[in-house]
C-alpha cells in the first residue's frame, strides 16, 4: 500500500540516470518525462570534464559506481533536463 501517481509515467518516483550527450550526467528521482525534457527532483549532476579539488577528474562510470552504492546527495531540488541534451534515461538500480 502507498501513494501512486500512475498518470506521471512508468519512471515516476524512480531514481534515474540521465546521461547527456556531453560530459554531464544527472542522477535524481524522476517526476515525469515531458516532450521538452526530463523532470528530476532531488538530483545531483556530475561533469566528467571538471577537475575535483585535488586536480583529478572522475569519469561518468566511476561517479555512477558511487551513486549505485550509496545514492546521491540531493543538491538540486528540481530541474528540467532539456530533451535535446539527453542521450539516455536509465534506472540507477539497473547500473548495479
Amino acid at each position: 500500500m502507498g501513494t501512486f501517481h500512475s498518470h506521471k509515467g512508468e519512471l515516476h518516483g524512480i531514481t534515474v540516470v540521465v546521461d547527456l550527450i556531453d560530459d554531464r550526467v544527472y542522477v535524481g528521482r524522476c517526476d515525469t518525462v515531458l516532450p521538452e525534457g526530463v523532470v528530476l527532483l532531488d538530483a545531483d549532476v556530475h561533469d566528467a570534464s571538471e577537475s575535483k579539488y585535488d586536480g583529478t577528474k572522475m569519469s561518468k562510470e566511476d561517479y555512477l559506481a558511487n551513486a549505485v552504492k550509496f545514492g546521491v546527495w540531493p543538491r538540486i531540488e528540481r530541474i528540467v533536463v532539456p530533451a535535446e541534451d539527453v542521450a539516455s534515461v536509465t534506472k540507477l538500480g539497473d547500473h548495479a
Partner: protein, 138 residues
Amino acid sequence: MPYDPMLVQPMREDMTSMNAEELLDAAAVDAFMAREGTKLLFVNSVCGCAAGQARPALRIALQHGTTPDHVGTVFAGQDLEATAKARGYFEQVPPSSPSAALFKGGDLVHFVPRHMIESRDANTIAFDLVSAFDEHCA
C-alpha cells in the same frame, strides 16, 4: 508536509505487525540505537513506487532464520524529528526513503537505499536483506 495520519496508519501497522518498534521521537531513536547487538532501522515511506515493495520485502526477510536482534522504524515525512535523528546515525550516506540500515553495535554495516528498492519485487529486496543478515547477524 506530513500526510493525513489516517492515510499512513495502515503503513505504520504494516511495520508493527512484523514486530518492528515504532520510533516516534529522537529519544526513542537514541534509546534504540544504544542497545547491544545488531539493529535494523527501516525508514518507512508513503511512496507506493518503492515502499509498496519494501515493507513486504522486510516481512519476508524477517521470517529468515537469522535476523537482527532489534528492528525499529521511523516514518519519513511523518515523524520528522525521529527521522532526522535516525539519519544522523548513518549520515555518511545520502538520505533516501524507504531505506534500511543495518548496524552491528554502533557501526553501519549494510545499507539498502531507495534506488535498490524501486522497481524490484519484494523477493529480490528480501534476498538482499537476508544476505546481509547472514553476513552480519549470525
